[in-house]
């Protein structure tokens, strides 16, 4: 059995230049959607990259700490209470605060986020931190994030400068990256040094001690049902702490940035606009084809082809454009993602889900255009071909 004459492809490909314009148009719309979705997720993913690295199966935070921005602590004894439950193997406190850092070269002050914990606890198992475990235990020492903003100054071991107006010596670096809560970078120090720097602040500043914890990490014994254990802790522990599994904790942070800030809205709007631009572009191409060949299409109708068949031709053209426009768009996007990631340090990831979602969006974009353009074919009256 032979195939039906490929009228859709023949009509599309007959005029090479128009086909190339069409592919470029679809690719560009696809590219825009990828870039905007990419930026949106990069900004949101950056917010949870610290959380993702924290070594805890279950996370305890103060009831008031809705997101990592809120500087609310809970009592350290809650951690000890949690540790007493069957299945909880270890509990580690993480202390965080914001401290002024003096750029050793320009002497300008920049706020950094301080992450403090017992260096012997595997709280943040990054290679740079594990390697400098012993040096961290010395007084007045810290590690600086190598991905800090350039305004923070040089990032290398041996630098002596000031943090919270007290002398500090950098004993090494680690690699983490910035987010909104740690605008300029992260500083890691031992809990003892945390006490040295922030335990004796002036009367109008919030003094910190080791009795209140910002984030509590629980390690669960292997094979234990984490969700059930978290549920038990949630019911049994006093109401002043929130208990999350790590996944829930990251999801809560992600939801906060997605839903409670304008990031999600702005980028969704931009992606929607790209989608609409795509519809208009594809519509133009399809409409031109139909309008230029109306006499031929009308002749097909006179010969006995139904409207459904002509609809199918236009839909086929739309789908062909979707397929051959999507691939170049995807490839260029992948390149731009890498470029953006290396230039800004944002987490630009091309996930399979996003590729699939945008493929469906592209298909939908072309089908909507086809559905609008096809009305021109359906309105074509074969009787009009006579006498022209």
């Amino acid at each position: 059995m032979r195939r039906r004459t490929g009228l859709a492809w023949a009509n599309l490909s007959y005029e090479r230049r128009r086909l190339l314009t069409a592919i470029a148009g679809v690719s560009f719309a696809v590219l825009l959607m990828f870039i905007f979705r990419g930026f949106e997720n990069a900004l949101i993913d950056s917010q949870i990259q610290l959380l993702k690295l924290l070594n805890g199966d279950i996370i305890l935070v103060s009831k008031l700490k809705q997101n990592m921005f809120v500087p609310e602590q809970f009592a350290r004894r809650r951690l000890y209470q949690a540790q007493a439950y069957e299945g909880v193997e270890a509990a580690y406190p993480l202390y965080t605060t914001t401290a002024y850092w003096k750029n050793p070269q320009t002497k300008r002050i920049r706020p950094l986020r301080v992450l403090a914990f017992n260096p012997t606890d595997p709280v943040l198992p990054l290679s740079g931190i594990i390697a400098h475990q012993r040096e961290l235990q010395l007084p007045w020492t810290a590690l600086l994030d190598a991905r800090s903003r350039p305004e923070v100054g040089p990032v290398e071991a041996g630098i002596v400068t000031e943090v919270a107006e007290q002398q500090v010596k950098l004993v090494g670096t680690f690699v983490l990256g910035t987010d909104f809560a740690s605008g300029n970078g992260n500083l890691v120090m031992s809990d003892q040094n945390f006490l040295r720097y922030f335990g004796n602040l002036g009367p109008d500043e919030d003094r910190r001690d080791l009795n209140t914890v910002d984030v509590g990490l629980l390690n669960v014994r292997a094979g234990e049902d984490i969700d059930r254990l978290a549920q038990t802790l949630r019911e049994r522990l006093p109401e002043d702490v929130n208990v999350f599994t790590k996944t829930q904790f990251m999801q809560q942070e992600r939801d906060y940035w997605q839903n409670n800030t304008s990031i999600g809205f702005v980028f969704s709007l931009l992606a929607t606009m790209s989608f609409i631009v795509g519809i208009i572009l594809v519509y133009q191409i399809l409409y031109t084809d139909v309008a230029e060949h109306w006499a031929e299409y009308a002749t097909l109708k006179a010969m006995g082809y139904s409207n459904t068949y002509l609809l199918w031709i236009v839909i086929q053209e739309a789908m062909i454009l979707a397929v051959i426009g999507f691939l170049p768009g995807l490839i260029i996007s992948a390149g731009l993602y890498q470029l953006t990631a290396s230039a800004t340090g944002l987490l630009m990831k091309l996930t399979v889900t996003r590729v699939l979602n945008l493929w469906i969006a592209t298909l939908l974009m072309c089908l909507i255009s086809g559905a609008i353009a096809v009305r021109k074919v359906q309105a074509t009256d074969p009787a009009e071909v006579f006498g022209t």
């Binding site: 059995m1 039906r4 009228l7 007959y14 060949h293 031929e296 010969m303 006995g304 006579f386």
Partner: protein, 257 residues
């Protein structure tokens, strides 16, 4: 529905087209304008009929009505034994598949080769296996054997029109409707095209109804009908027509045509 009427009325008549008291209007309500008045016409099988008349006399309208391209509400219009009056649009499409249309413009898809353009017509009959050979056959009959895989842009005007004719004829329609098929052609190609149509009509007993202003091709007709202001004015054999329009007895109508 169409198929069953076809069977029932198969024996009824030897006419391809049978028209009784056909009136046709354009527009609605106040703007309603009658373009065809009380047309009665029989086209027997195997006849070549040329329809002439001044512009605006309703020739094209009558052609599109016979071609099942418009819905008709009054009178009786039987085409290939289907009563078109009051027929639904979907059924009209079915009737059209038995009619070959040839237009003034060739209306070929520039993007398809001559053969593919013809194959588009064969596909309507759901014949897939031998569509290519059928298309090549009919193109060969029309003298285009060496142009089968050329696109219209590479063909001359006459060749393009012959491809269009091949497309109209390939399914062996019992009725062929042609609207100024030679208007866009020079004298020689026009003559070729008409001779081919005549040959095919004679060989296969098809009815051809052709609208034309081209006096050079009147001689192929068995019969010439004239439409003036929506009314069938004359219906003559070729000889009578030639006599009536003899240049020695010049008639004003010659110039109108």
């Amino acid at each position: 529905m169409v198929r069953s009427t076809l069977l029932n009325s198969m024996t009824e008549t030897d006419h391809s087209v049978q028209i009784r008291q056909l009136n046709y209007f354009f527009g609605q309500a106040d703007l309603r304008k009658q373009v065809l008045f009380d047309i009665n016409l029989d086209l027997p099988k195997g006849q070549i009929v040329i329809m002439t008349g001044p512009s605006g006399s309703g020739k094209t309208t009558l052609l599109t009505l016979i071609g099942a391209l418009r819905t008709v509400q009054s009178g009786s219009l039987k085409v290939l034994n289907h009563e078109l009056v009051g027929m639904r649009k979907a059924d009209l499409v079915e009737v059209r598949r038995n009619i070959g249309f040839i237009f003034q413009a060739h209306n070929l898809f520039e993007s398809l080769t001559a053969s593919q353009n013809v194959e588009m017509a064969i596909e309507l009959l759901n014949e897939w296996g031998n569509k290519r050979s059928k298309a090549v056959d009919v193109l060969t009959q029309l003298g285009l054997a060496d142009r089968v895989d050329y696109k219209p842009a590479a063909l001359s005007g006459g060749q393009k029109q012959r491809v269009a004719i091949a497309r109209a004829l390939v399914n062996h329609p019992a009725l062929i409707l042609a609207d100024e098929p030679t208007a866009a052609l020079d004298k020689k190609s026009g003559r070729e095209v008409v001779t081919l149509m005549q040959k095919l009509a004679q060989q296969e007993g098809r009815t051809i109804l052709m609208v034309t202003h081209d006096n050079r091709i009147l001689d192929v007709a068995d019969r010439i009908i004239t439409l003036v202001d929506g009314r069938l004015e004359t219906d003559e054999t070729l000889d009578n027509f030639v006599e009536a329009h003899d240049p020695k007895a010049l008639d004003r109508r010659m110039f109108i045509m």
